[in-house]
Structures are given as structure tokens and as C-alpha cells.
Amino acid sequence: MITKKDHSQKDSHIRKPGIRPSRTKFQWIDIWVRSLVPMGFTVFVILFLSTPLDIPGRNELLPAVVMASVYFWAIYRPKSMPAIGVFCLGLLIDLLNFSIPGIVILLLLIIYGVGVTQRFRLARYNFVLVWLVFSFISLGVFLLQWALTSAFSLKLMPFYSFLFEIIFAIGFYPLLSIIFTWAHRTIADPDQV
């Protein structure tokens, strides 16, 4: 039995060897649901930010939130955010959007690739450094999006949206990071069943 005190300990997610009763069906469902939280949250954000509600800057917010989510989970729980899943998220955004297909997939995969290959290094850094790395990647990635969109539509796209995307991505990351860290320790942790 894992008590509340153990949650705060750093190595609580490492299962200690020993004999325990085999898991019931409901526990398996619980594990399954918990491991789906990161993907589920991101899909919900994509659908929710597509509804015509009065959310200011909705179009710029969507890529920013999805990028932050993919980056965070790639570093801290890549099992719940697999590469195929990231590809499907990008595909979903591309299919729902009116833009040139494939670009969003590429951007998400780049940010995921950076997160997942550098995860052992990044997870050791403190928050500000992780945030700084995210800021740099998102700057590069959104610049790439702007360049690719401009190249494919054969004209220079307006620069404002790009700036807003960057500002939203960098500005929202700390807030999302707090929520995700909380979720990472509680509702999205399969080891807590």
C-alpha cells in the first residue's frame, strides 16, 4: 500500500520487488485510463479549442497548448505519449484544419523528438532551464511552420500570427507545466493503482 507520504518521495514510482496480489480487472482499467490521460487531455484541447466559443486568440492557443503538452509528456512520461500518438495528434489537427497537410505533424514530431531523445538530460534540469529549452525549440518550430506555409502557398504569410503563437507557447508553458506536474504525480500515474 502506498501512503500519501510516499508520493512526495522521489522514487515512489519505482516498484519495489516483492510479492503482491495479482491485479483485478478494475485495477487494469484504472491503469489503462491513467495512461490515457496525457493523450486524452490533448485530444480534448484540440476539439475544445475548435468550438466557436468566445476564447480570445483561440487559433494561436491551440498549437501552443498541444506543443507544450507533447514536450512535457515526451520528457516525463513518453509511454503515455508514444510517437505514433503524436503523429495521430498532428494528423487530427491537420484534418480538422484548413491548412497545408503534414506541417503540424512535422512540427509536433520535431518537438517530440527533441523531448524524448534528451529526456534523461532534461528531466534532471530545473524547471526554468526546461522552459528555456522549450522556448527555443518552439521559436524554431513556429518559424519553420511560417516558412513552410509561406513556401507552399507561394507568398509571405502575415507575421502576427507567428508572433502570437510564440508568445502563447512560451507564456502558457509554466501554467500548463504546473497542471501537468500535478497530473503526472496523481491522476496520470499508472503506478498509483
Binding site: 476539439l47 475544445f48 475548435s50 468550438t51 466557436p52 466559443l53 468566445d54 483561440r58 487559433n59 494561436e60 498549437p63 510517437a83 505514433i84 503524436v86 503523429f87 498532428g90 494528423l91 491537420d94 484534418l95 480538422l96 484544419n97 484548413f98 491548412s99 497545408i100 497537410p101 503534414g102 506541417i103 505533424i105 512535422l106 514530431l109 517530440y112 523528438g113 524524448v116 511552420q145 513552410l148 506555409t149 507552399f152 502557398s153 504569410m157 502575415p158 502576427y160 500570427s161 507567428f162 502570437f164 503563437e165
Partner: protein
């Protein structure tokens, strides 16, 4: 499951990401090579998701409405006073308008004016704003047996918002007038100049190509022009505003990012074909025809 050694499994796991990168690039190429196919897939997806969107939106719509109500309650007294004043003014205008309508009616009778056909239109709900960062478009839900076709005109309660670009079984996409690729010929009502309204993904489409000697006047009304056979003439769009000296934009009557319900009009542009004229040489491709003119009663604005 095929039994594999740990090394091969690890190797395959490492290959997944590069492979997905290749797939992403392939999809980009596919989008360039086969845009029709991509559009068809997108329409299928939106067709299935359109009811889902309505489900996601509903609870938040209710919540939003409740919060709006709470906000509005605070200003009830002031609003009431303003509305009473406005109502008085509108009543005066109503009588003027009725007088003018009567006069118009008699004049038309004297001239044996052929009345415009009443237009068929459908009213639908906007279920999703499918705008990306570089595109502006919305998705509406439709019946199973609708008659909406690409090229038809979408209006909100006051004026033009866009054109239907793709139609599925249960949904249609509407490209908004502020999309970067939208170019619409317009006419300015006070200065009588023609211009092009060009979207630039901001909320307010710009006015370009207006005559050198007739600059748009601040506040004048903008309606569509029938040039280029894309749209019928006379659909109201908005009014002119200078956001900077020398940079006129059109401000639509309702904000384009908060569309809830729109009407899709069938102007029947296909049916208007010039009568046969024996001996007249017509160029093969380009038919010289003028679209119908949108009068207020065609748009359903008439009183009674």
C-alpha cells in the same frame, strides 16, 4: 506476435520516429500532389465529427450563456435607458422606412417592375471554427438531404461572411472573407468606387485597388460587386474604417470570430444565362453575364 530478440526490438523502436518523420513529409507531398484527395478525407472526418462538436460545445455554451447573463444583470438599468432612447429613434425611422417602402411599391407598380424572385436559403449552426493560424474558415452542420453547393454565399444576420468551399454529407466548410486567400470585388456606396476586399487573416479585411482619385471615406458602407461572376451585387458587408492613415479596412457588422448562426443563400447563379441571339458571336469560355442584384427583400430583410 513474432518473437524478436531484444536488440531487434530496440532497433525497431528507434526506427519509429524517423519513419514517422518520413510519413509526415509524405503527407505534405501528398497534400501538394493530390489536394482533392486530402479535401475528401477532411470532409469525411468533419462529417463524422460535426455532431461531436455540437456535443462538446453544448455544455460550455450553456455555461457561457449563464455567465453572460450574470454579467448583463449588472448593466441592466443603464442598458434599459439606452435601449429606450434607441427604440424611440428607431420608431421614427420605422415610419420613414414604411413611407419609403410604400412609395417604392407604387413607383415599381407604375414602372411595371419585374419583382426579384425570393431566394431560397437555409439557416444553420456554426459547429466549429476550423481556422488555423494561417487560415480562416468555419464548419456548419447540414441536413442529410441539403442542397448546398460550393460557391454559395454565407451571410450572418447583417452581411456577408464567406463562401461555401466544400460540401460533405452532413457538413460544409465556409471560407471566411478575412482568409488570406479571399479576394472579393466590392463597391463603396458613398464614393461609388469599386475596390477589392482582401483578407489578411486579421479580423478586418483590407481594401485594395481602389481608384487613385476616390479614396474610401471613413464610415461609408461596403457592398459586394458582381464583377467576376463570383458573387451577386449588393450584399452588405460592413463599413470602411481607417486603422492607419492610408490603410482602409472593412469592419463587418458582426465580428467574424464569433459566428454562431449563419444563412447560406442560393443565388441561382447557374440559371441566369443570356438568351440565344442568332448571329451573335460569343466567345467560347467567357459568358458575358451579370449576376442578380441582392435587393433587401431577397435577403429576407423586408418588414411584415
Amino acid at each position: 506476435m513474432i518473437p524478436l530478440s531484444i536488440q531487434i526490438k530496440q532497433g525497431l523502436a528507434k526506427l519509429v520516429l524517423p519513419l514517422l518523420f518520413v510519413f509526415a513529409c509524405l503527407i505534405m507531398l501528398l497534400g501538394q500532389a493530390q489536394p482533392k484527395f486530402v479535401e475528401a478525407v477532411r470532409l469525411k472526418v468533419s462529417d463524422y465529427l460535426a455532431p461531436g462538436y455540437a456535443l462538446v460545445e453544448e455544455p460550455f455554451g450553456v455555461l457561457n450563456g449563464f455567465l453572460q447573463n450574470l454579467k448583463n444583470i449588472q448593466h441592466v438599468a443603464a442598458e434599459n435607458k439606452a435601449l429606450k432612447d434607441e427604440n424611440l429613434q428607431l420608431r421614427r425611422w420605422y415610419h420613414v422606412a414604411m413611407g419609403l417602402a410604400d412609395e417604392n411599391e407604387t413607383l415599381k407598380k407604375q414602372l411595371h417592375w419585374m419583382p426579384d424572385p425570393a431566394l431560397s436559403f437555409i439557416t444553420t449552426r456554426v459547429v466549429a471554427d476550423i481556422s488555423g493560424v494561417y487560415r480562416k474558415a468555419i464548419l456548419v452542420v447540414l441536413d442529410e438531404n441539403h442542397k448546398v453547393r460550393p460557391g454559395q454565399v454565407a451571410l450572418d444576420g447583417f452581411g456577408l461572411v464567406g463562401r461555401v468551399t466544400e460540401v460533405g454529407d452532413r457538413s460544409a466548410r465556409i471560407l471566411l472573407i478575412n482568409d488570406d486567400s479571399s479576394r472579393i470585388p466590392v463597391r463603396l456606396l458613398n464614393s461609388h468606387a469599386a475596390a477589392i476586399m482582401a483578407g489578411d487573416n486579421s479580423l478586418y479585411p483590407r481594401l485594395i485597388f481602389y481608384p487613385e482619385d476616390k479614396h474610401p471615406v471613413e464610415g461609408e458602407r461596403v457592398v459586394t460587386d458582381a464583377k467576376g461572376e463570383a458573387l451577386p451585387a449588393g450584399i452588405p458587408i460592413g463599413y470602411v474604417h481607417y486603422i492607419q492613415p492610408g490603410q482602409p479596412v472593412v469592419i463587418p457588422y458582426l465580428p467574424l470570430d464569433r459566428l454562431k448562426i449563419i444563412r447560406i443563400f442560393d443565388y441561382g447563379m447557374q440559371q441566369i444565362v443570356a438568351p440565344d441571339a442568332p448571329g451573335r458571336v460569343v466567345s467560347t469560355k467567357k459568358k458575358n453575364r451579370q449576376g442578380p442584384v441582392a435587393s433587401p427583400n431577397m435577403l429576407g430583410h423586408n418588414e411584415e
